[in-house]
């Protein structure tokens, strides 16, 4: 199939305003009469609030309002479990908990007022380790609950005892991962405007999931959803991070705006952002694997503990993706997996690109290399003996029979592009000098979209205007990845028109069809299908009009190059513009809703069996590193990333996802860690929390593999998250080859490489 608009590296539809500095981010908005909001946050990770005295702050010049939990109609919100406090009422549960919010004429006045609020605390002994939190009789983080467990997911397949009895080699290993910050370059920001356009409160903001934000604000205010309107601005990065933290900010700003009857702007500083925002879950993972001498996997037992921090947030679903994918893409007759989330008084954890996969992939892909070494096989050999193929049965008992299972293809393509086999042989020989090289691989399968987490559907409006220009509005939000461009390409392809005809609107919750969240790498496959569906309906309407006018059969029409042709004859009948004029004259409505509901899935929470996702993507990344064994420094020389995406709607945007995801994976693997000590966060800005700079870049080779999926628009599936989940284990495997030492804890920083342990633990507060 030859396409004219999709499968092409068309330039981004939002690029122009972004290069001229006129793209409006939330902090760039100024409303008449606007106030500035600031949050007073906790002094301690865990404490009882004895008394809050706001009297002095209220008399501070310029201060218009001070709000505490007592002023909030419904103080607890949450997408899955409603237990996150908008402002701490009786207890602060982590160091980023807000206690009061101030609205003032200037930022300076607001900051001054915060200093005048007196809070009397009774500090409490907190729990900062999920293993401690899991113990019987452990002090409770949420006193109304019976224990600290957020969730427990199980998966049982076959009989692991029998499997291990048959195994000739058994390995047991423990791996751990760290807290990681999203580090979107734009800190959280929004403006709440009261009583605008017949709406109680309108919020313009850097909000990843406008609909979940609306749900939260409406529930906090105890008003119907149609009284709250969220309009998304350009968003300066999110990566899963601008969800609950934005809901909380939106609720606080809305309360202040309604109390003062004035617009209220809130913008976090970087320090506030890192202190308050949720992080990637640290995991403690115990893996036991059994195999035959020939390298056939016989059984696997997995136990993962996730630190949920103070709130449940997304932990129940993050750990669910982990339980589905914990074995990796390997055929295993016998599996027993348990994933748990526990409350602690650490910073809370939530969605971050990958969503429960980077942790388990680090463990399982490290484990495969350790097993290969034990079996005296190459890592590639062991993987090829066990990977999924068409019709393989997953650990969840799902037969992979509805799409191309392309693991072997992505492995082979990555191996070829990286010259893996030669380099693996070369680096296996003794190396002289301090600098040693290694090459390592990691592979994954990843369920597309939400799976059995939640109802999975999306909608879009495509509306042709009187002059033939077109508006698209979808409930899924541009996060910077190129969603607007991809959806525009799909509509243009379907209608056979130029990209420039189309304007993609920002998400407006009062107008756009609710489509769930822009998460789980689901936008292209779900939203793309919805846009395609809407454009297709319009095409059929126009075809009927044209067919009747020119006495041709509707199915004999072809929409392309801004015209409508008679098929086969390749003869132009009418231009697209003329067809629109015709429709206008006949009073035909040219605005439609498109809808796409994902295919059915199933899940048995008791045994983890079913069809958790309707389709999967496959990837392989190969890292080549040089380790300075005298200093512990790792230089990543080259990353090769092969990903089957179904169909690349925009190959240039797709490469951008690969480059960006690989770099984020590199940061996760070797440098990034939010360091906590007894609940205090030690590194709260970019001088101490280091993310990869341009100087940390390896050579990155993207390899795009296309096996169109029957469910995807033009066969397209997912790319955002798969790109990030493989880097850390590929690097860890390369480092192990280079140094002969296996590091089972992320990140692989200097101390761990040089000394074998981290020096950063200890200390108390910042």
């Amino acid at each position: 199939m030859v396409y004219s608009k999709v499968n092409k590296p068309i330039i981004r539809v939002d690029a122009y305003e972004k290069v001229i500095g006129k793209a409006k981010f939330a902090a760039d908005l100024y409303f008449p009469n606007m106030l500035y909001g600031k949050v007073l946050r906790s002094k301690y990770p865990y404490a009882r609030i004895v008394k809050i005295d706001i009297e002095k702050a209220l008399t501070c010049p310029g201060v218009e309002a001070v709000i505490t939990a007592d002023d909030i109609p419904n103080n607890e919100f949450g997408v899955i479990v409603q237990n996150q406090q908008v402002l701490a009422r009786q207890q602060v549960l982590y160091i980023g908990d807000g206690i009061a919010v101030v609205a003032a004429e200037t930022k300076e006045a607001a900051a001054k007022a915060l200093g005048l609020i007196k809070v009397e605390y009774e500090e409490l002994p907190g729990i900062f380790d999920p293993e401690e939190a899991a113990k019987k009789g452990a002090p409770l983080v949420h006193s109304e609950l019976e224990n600290n467990q957020v969730v427990h997911h199980r998966l049982r397949k076959g009989d692991t005892e029998r499997g291990f009895a048959q195994a000739e080699v058994i390995l047991e290993r423990e791996y751990t991962t760290q807290f990681v910050e999203h580090a979107y370059i734009e800190p959280e920001s929004l403006v709440a405007v009261p009583y605008e356009h017949n709406t109680l409160v309108t919020i313009y903001g850097s909000i990843q999931n406008p609909f979940s934000c609306r749900n939260a604000v409406a529930s906090v205010l105890k008003v119907p959803l149609n009284k709250v309107r969220i309009i998304q601005n350009h968003m300066g990065g999110s990566f899963g991070g601008k969800d609950e933290v934005m809901s909380s900010m939106a609720a606080r700003a809305a309360l202040l705006a309604l109390k003062t009857n004035r617009p209220v702007k809130m913008v976090n500083t970087r320090d506030e952002s890192i202190l308050e925002s949720y992080k990637r879950h640290p995991y403690k993972m115990k893996y036991k694997v059994g195999a035959t001498k020939e390298g056939k996997l016989a059984a696997m037992e997995i136990k993962c503990l996730a630190d949920s921090g103070a709130y449940a947030c997304q932990t129940p679903f993050v750990t669910w993706r982990s339980v589905v994918q914990a074995t990796g893409p390997y055929e295993l007759p016998n599996v027993k997996t348990d994933t748990y989330g526990y409350y602690t008084n650490n910073v809370y954890t939530g969605a971050m690109r990958g969503y429960g996969s980077p942790q388990i992939i680090f463990a399982q892909e490290s484990l495969m290399d350790e097993l290969a070494e034990e079996l005296k096989m190459t890592p590639m050999e062991l993987r090829l003996k066990n990977i999924y193929h068409n019709n393989s049965i997953t650990a969840s008992g799902q037969k992979l029979d509805n799409h191309q299972v392309s693991l072997e293809e992505v492995i082979n393509k990555a191996v070829e592009a990286s010259n893996y086999k030669d380099k693996y042989r070369e680096y296996s020989k003794p190396q002289s000098g301090d600098k040693k090289r290694g090459i390592g691989m990691a592979i994954s399968f990843r369920g597309c979209s939400l799976g059995a987490e939640a109802t999975d559907a999306a909608g879009a409006i495509v509306a042709i205007q009187r002059d033939g220009s077109i508006l698209i509005s979808c409930g899924l939000a541009e996060n910077g990845e190129g969603l607007k461009t991809v959806f525009t390409q799909i509509a243009a392809e379907e209608l056979g028109v130029d990209i420039r005809r189309i304007n993609y609107m920002e998400v407006d919750t009062s107008v756009s069809p609710e489509s769930g969240a822009t998460v789980a790498s689901r936008s292209t496959i779900l939203g793309g299908n919805a846009v395609k569906n809407a454009a297709h309906q319009l095409k059929e309407t126009l075809a009927e009009i044209v067919a009747a006018e020119f006495k041709i059969k509707t199915n004999n029409l072809d929409f392309k190059n801004e015209n409508i042709y008679e098929k086969n004859k390749n003869q132009k009948i009418i231009s697209f513009d003329e067809a629109i004029t015709l429709a206008n004259q006949q009073g035909i409505f040219l605005s439609v809703y498109g809808w796409y509901k994902a295919p059915d899935i199933s899940w048995d929470e008791e045994n983890g069996q079913g069809r958790p996702y309707f389709t999967y993507v496959y990837g392989c990344q190969i890292a080549e590193v040089e380790v300075d064994t005298a200093t512990g420094q790792i230089e990543v020389l080259k990353m090769t990333a092969a990903h089957d995406v179904g169909r690349a709607i925009n190959p240039a945007c797709l490469k951008g996802q690969i480059y960006g995801g690989v770099m984020m994976g590199l940061g996760y693997g070797i440098m990034e860690e939010v360091e906590t000590a007894n609940g205090y966060i030690k590194n709260t800005n970019f001088d101490e929390y280091l993310i990869p700079t341009v100087k940390d870049m390896p050579e990155i080779i993207p390899v795009i593999v296309e096996n169109p999926d029957p469910h995807g628009p033009y066969g397209a599936k997912s790319i955002g998250e798969p790109t990030l989940e493989l880097g850390a284990p590929a690097i860890a495997n390369a480092v192990a080859q280079a140094t002969g030492k296996r590091i089972r804890h992320l990140p692989l920083n200097l101390e761990r490489v040089l000394l074998g342990h981290s020096l950063s633990k200890g200390g108390t507060k910042k």
Binding site: R12, I20, H234, R270, G656, I691
Partner: protein, 153 residues
């Protein structure tokens, strides 16, 4: 504290403003002049989102006090496009897909512009050195470098 009067040039236009003694250039640009193309990401000169060109050099405008730049010349992202014509770097960023969320883009462009003012034909390593202080979390930098390379040829 009393305000001081300072005169300097922004994007080719002379401005005279009253500023507080602690007022940072980024706040003057964004709040007094409403030139919001310059972004704040960290406030400590680590992320580069607030990069502007001050007397021909790329600087973090969060680390400059406006009161100290009297007589200087400031170029911001809004001044790159002249008479409706994009700077060749802006065009290259569009064509090479050097943009994702766009928040670091103005700072990246200003760092790149400052580089090309002094070195019109930098190599890849020189480009990397010029962008070292500009963080990007989306793009992995590759397409940004490609964009600058396409102009620097």
């Amino acid at each position: 504290m009393s305000k001081v009067t300072v005169t300097f040039i922004v994007n080719g236009k002379e401005v005279t403003l009253k500023v507080g003694p602690k007022e940072r250039l980024i706040d003057t640009l964004r709040e007094q002049l409403k030139l919001t193309g310059t972004k704040e990401g960290c406030g400590i000169g680590e992320c580069g989102a607030c990069t502007v060109i001050l007397d021909g050099k790329a600087v973090s405008s969060c680390l400059i006090l406006t009161g100290q730049i009297g007589g200087s010349e400031v170029l911001t992202i809004e001044g790159l496009e002249v008479d409706g014509k994009l700077d060749s770097l802006q065009k290259a960023f569009i064509d090479c897909h050097a943009i994702q969320c766009g928040f670091c883009t103005p700072g990246m462009l200003m760092s790149a512009k400052a580089l090309l003012i002094h070195n019109p034909h930098p190599n890849r390593e020189e480009i990397k050195t010029a962008l070292e202080g500009n963080l990007c979390r989306c793009t992995g930098y590759e397409q940004i470098i490609e964009a600058i390379e396409s102009v620097a040829k």
